[in-house]
């Protein structure tokens, strides 16, 4: 079995089933259960963990599919246990309605993504009152009491301790080209800055890696000078003031494939 990372990576058995159906690779009669299992095991490998909840769900779905397949292979005049048949069709309907619900929410998610993207271009002002002399005494209201504050602290601190975010599994890798473009703008504007400051808005380690690769690339082009006095020191960066013209990064080509 290969470790190839597929794009888009499916998420769980329901998603896998959807993808198999919509890519016309699955009808119940010619269903190759081994395909389904192989893909699913591959998925588990990429997760590097066995999620029991998801696995048992996968087994239920697989069992339903196998039964449906068995049923479809029986000659029409075979005697069938009606109760069993009814159960099976209930199971089938349940699976179908879940697939439908899943598709529905995927559609909503796409609409949300588009909306969030368009509103991300609108920036509000965040610096509050602007009186130079005597800003009004804002009567701050902490919307909870001491006990409530402790609860918030507990939630946040527990969240910080939990397993690393696996979100990157279902996202394309962060783009080094985008990071280069972003860095060029910002290093130019700030004249001198450091790596931590340039990456502090990033959520995911992989994004930071992309920015680090971008810095290496910029240094290679001679657009940026990077310095680190010792291994614990901040990586300071300054623009060399050279104009880049239309340098094209190898990352552009790489990331387009």
């Amino acid at each position: 079995m290969s470790f190839e990372v597929k794009s888009p990576v499916f998420e769980g058995p329901l998603d896998l089933l959807l993808q198999l159906i919509t890519s016309h690779r699955l009808t119940v009669t010619d269903l190759r259960l081994s395909d389904l299992v192989a893909e699913y095991l591959g998925y588990l490998e990429t997760m590097q963990q066995l999620d029991l909840e998801v696995t048992s769900e996968f087994l239920v779905i697989a069992a339903t599919l196998v039964q449906l397949k068995a049923r479809s292979l029986l000659p029409d005049n075979t005697e069938i246990d009606l109760d069993e048949d009814l159960l099976l069709s209930e199971e089938r309907d349940r699976l179908l309605s879940r697939l439908l619900a899943n598709l529905t929410f995927k559609d909503v998610a796409a609409v949300f993504a588009a909306r969030l993207e368009s509103t991300s271009l609108l920036l509000p002002r965040l610096s509050g009152f602007d009186f130079e002399m005597d800003p009004p005494a804002v009567d701050v209201r902490i919307p909870t009491d001491a006990g409530g504050l402790a609860e918030v602290a507990e939630r946040v601190l527990l969240r910080s301790q939990e397993t690393p975010d696996l979100d990157h599994l279902d996202l394309e890798l962060p783009s080094v080209s985008d990071a280069i473009a972003d860095l060029r703008r910002r290093i130019d504007a700030e004249i001198e800055t450091d790596f931590a400051r340039l990456t502090e808005h990033l959520d995911r380690p992989l994004e930071v890696v992309a920015y680090f690769l971008a810095i290496l690339e910029l240094a290679r082009w001679g657009l940026v000078e990077a310095r680190q006095d010792n291994i614990d020191a901040a990586i300071t960066l300054r623009s060399t003031g050279q104009s880049a013209g239309d340098l094209v990064s190898e990352w552009d080509a790489l990331e387009q494939t």
């Binding site: 009808t27 119940v28 439908l100 949300f112 509000p124 972003d182 504007a189 959520d203």
Partner: protein
């Protein structure tokens, strides 16, 4: 007739959308007049080629920079763009939006995959919030969407979410979904 500039100055300093009722209260002017003044302000901003726009979302009114000027603001270093939400997080957000209050287990059930990470990401971005506890033994946390969610989606209130029925796949897709499960399907009869 100082209502319009007064509104403008309030929205300038506000750190979240300001409800109409509060503007009306602060200015001691009936809501109807405030609505008119807001319309006039929006009109003036767009007619004079201002770099700002006025929007109603997330329960109130707020000033924003014009979307087409975003490239300049990106170059002005103070505005790193937040990274995009993952597909998993977006799907979980969709489920929370339409099924709130909803527990992690319910979200996972609907999505067919454990959604703890996705919900945590949404909570960090303050798009969702814990809104209560389920009755029953586990007392599972229940999630709902926040005002930030409404503002970021450009919605005045949850009622403005399009009906879920609008998102149900069209009949052709439903047909495709059903086909593999129909043993009596003529197309698969002709197999061998």
């Amino acid at each position: 007739m100082e209502i319009i500039p007064a509104i403008e100055s309030i929205l300038f300093v506000a750190e979240s959308p300001v409800p109409l009722a509060e503007l009306s209260q602060v200015l001691e002017v009936p809501p109807g007049e405030v609505t008119q003044a807001l319309a006039d302000l929006g009109e003036r901003l767009s007619q004079t080629g201002s770099g700002l726009v006025l929007r109603e979302a997330g329960g109130g009114w707020r000033l924003y920079t014009r979307p087409d000027l975003h490239p300049f603001l990106e170059r002005y270093a103070a505005t790193p763009s937040a990274s995009k939400l993952s597909r998993a997080a977006l799907e979980a957000l969709a489920v929370v939006a339409y099924r709130q209050p909803v527990s992690r287990g319910q979200v996972s059930e609907i999505r067919g995959v454990d959604s703890e990470q996705a919900l945590r990401t949404l909570e960090r971005r303050t798009l969702i919030d814990v809104v209560g506890h389920a009755a029953g033994p586990g007392q599972a946390l229940l999630y709902g969407t926040s005002d930030t969610f409404l503002e970021k989606l450009g919605l005045r209130s949850l009622e403005e979410l399009p009906p879920l029925a609008d998102h149900v796949p069209p009949p052709e897709i439903v047909e495709t979904l059903e086909r593999p499960f129909r043993p009596e399907d003529p197309s698969s009869d002709s197999k061998s």
